[in-house]
Amino acid sequence: MASKTAAKDIITLRGSAAIVSEFFGYAANSILYNRAVYPEESFARVKKYGLPMLLTKDEGVKSFISNLNAQLSEWLEAGKLQRVVLVIMSMNTGEVLERWNFSIETDNEVVEKGVSREKSDKEIMREIQAIMRQIASSITYLPCLDEQCVFDVLAYTDTDVAVPFTWMESSDAKLIANPQMVKLHSFDTKIHKVNTLVSYKNDEEESDDEE
């Protein structure tokens, strides 16, 4: 990583958790918009990460995502969140069509000792911006979803968490058989590193070898 001449900012565990869960909220909205899970007109434009981002106006989806984020923040602060997966399924058949996988590596020293780290806020924003751009451009290679879809979110945590009241444990990871996978950029707050990966159902027409 290139050294920055600009001043570094202090990142605390709580701050990092907030950044990651906020990122997830915007990323989820962006995915829902770009993959047309909800109609275009149900989104409003806002400015974030130096980009025009889209947020849903639907109250139900809004509250789903914000409740989610509240719990994710809590798990992130405890260092227990391993990954978050946004799953897109066909509404009619329930088949999993796409999986947006955000895996999280946590610096346990920070969780255990409560230290903080330093990194420029701008740098983190830029990294997130790159990921958002990639999500938007993913429609160029992801197969067309031409049926009505619904989404769901799975959170993978360490085994020693208490089951939160409004969550249920699922043994169904909603995996896709023989998926195509594309790795997107990552971002790192120095406390949490988030890696993004999208896996999708193998389009039968693709003759590409997975070599």
Partner: protein, 412 residues
């Protein structure tokens, strides 16, 4: 000139131009999948219970043209109740069966020591009977197939038989059970009763010595009791986590009161039982809080065909009469009714509104509406299986309903 950004763009930005597929070598994908599966030993997966709303398909933008589906177009299921009535003092006991909807379109509901009737055709209520403390609470209600006679089980082990048309009590069955009768099921003129003593008795209501048979098998309270449509098999579920299938066709005397099958797979009390209307010998059962699954059985062989985890206590089950769908009612924590497609067990709808476990379920005679009651003291109606207006149009002549009551009371 921002050197940092430039550097990053030069080095990392390059990756964007590579074709995506070359970035997923099959071995890496396999390893990842393997790691994912193996990781599950050190990982727990959670999903948020309240699912996000589905986008309204009717107003979907022109970009996403609705593909013509081979099956019937999806009907719109309202996820809120059509109507909610007050059901004060309803007993929130998992082992009782306090709600039934008769073929004359009257709903019978037991509220503590009173039984009320709600005529669905006219929306009128009346009180059928109230008992004193000696009798204890009413613990079960069940309409006879004629929709006119009603059997009501009591805490003191008696069962009352009423003629709802004339509002008269016809008889009381005594001397059978020794504790409360929590479940009832009619088979023509035979009233089968299930008690807290674990016994199941077949009573011929026409004769004086009404007990014509006793089925022994359950060691704890019988909370689920259902005869198959043909009347040949009886399914019973108990607090001992067992399901028994009893078959009337067993001819030999010795085996007559022995169960045909005993199913032990559930790990909690089984009160939810429902025979499939479109496939013979198929039974669906639901387990309580420690089990949370819906299981499907072939009642000829006793084999378990399928098991689906619902992640919530299963309190009731009803099959749709017109579609291949199953409705389940749940307790902690969603208190919802879930509609499943059969046999895929894909969730089609979740009906919310109750604020405590939905113990009691009943289906309207036209098959469209489901009545549910819970400890939150409400009786709710859901047009989950179809639109009653449509069903009425399809029928040639409306059912002639007798108006048994001259007074109209509201359930208080």
């Amino acid at each position: 000139m921002d050197m940092g950004y430039a550097h990053w763009m030069v080095t990392e930005g390059r990756k964007e131009k590579e074709p995506p597929f070359s970035r997923s070598p099959s071995s890496e994908a396999y390893r990842r999948l393997l790691a994912e599966t193996l990781n599950l030993n050190r990982t727990r997966i959670f999903a948020f219970k309240n699912k996000p709303p589905t986008s309204s398909s009717a107003s979907s933008s022109s970009t996403y043209h609705q593909q013509p589906k081979p099956a019937k177009p999806r009907r719109r299921i309202r996820q809120t109740s059509e109507r909610a009535l007050d059901a004060p003092d309803i007993v929130d006991d998992f082992y009782l069966n306090l709600l039934d909807w008769g073929s004359s379109n009257i709903v019978a509901i037991a509220l503590a020591r009173s039984v009320y009737l709600w005529d669905a055709s006219h929306g009128s209520t009346s009180e059928l009977v109230t008992v004193d403390e000696e009798h204890g609470l009413f613990t079960s209600v069940n309409w006879a197939p004629d929709g006119r006679h009603l059997a009501i089980g009591l805490e003191n082990s008696e069962v009352q038989l009423w003629d709802a048309a004339s509002n008269k009590q016809l008889r009381t069955l005594k001397g059978g059970h020794r504790c409360r009768v929590g479940s009832l099921a009619w088979n023509n003129h035979i009233l089968t009763t299930g008690g807290m003593d674990g016994l199941i008795m077949n009573n011929d209501v026409r004769i004086r010595d009404h007990i014509v048979g006793t089925y022994r098998g359950h060691s704890q309270e019988v909370c689920g009791l259902k005869w198959s449509a043909s009347g040949q098999q009886l399914a019973s579920g108990g607090n001992d986590n067992l399901i028994h299938i009893w078959d009337r066709r067993r001819s030999s005397m010795a085996a007559a009161h022995q169960w045909l099958h005993r199913m032990e797979e559930h790990t909690a009390a089984v009160r939810a039982l429902a025979w499939c209307p479109f496939q013979a010998n198929l039974l669906a059962s639901g387990g309580g809080g420690g089990d949370m699954s819906i299981k499907f059985w072939n009642t000829i062989t006793g084999a378990c065909l399928n098991s689906a985890n619902t992640y919530a206590q299963v309190c009731g089950l009803l099959w749709s009469k017109s579609e291949r769908e199953l409705l389940s009612s749940h307790g902690f924590t969603g208190n919802q009714l879930t509609l499943w497609k059969y046999p895929s067990m894909v969730k089609t709808a979740e009906l919310r509104g109750h604020t405590s476990r939905v113990l009691f379920l009943a289906q309207s005679p036209d098959g469209c509406t489901v009545a549910s009651a819970a400890g939150d003291e409400t009786l709710r109606f859901w047009n989950v299986f179809g639109d009653p207006a449509e069903a009425a149009r399809e029928k040639s002549a409306p059912k002639a309903n007798s108006e048994p009551f001259s007074w109209v009371n509201r359930i208080r």
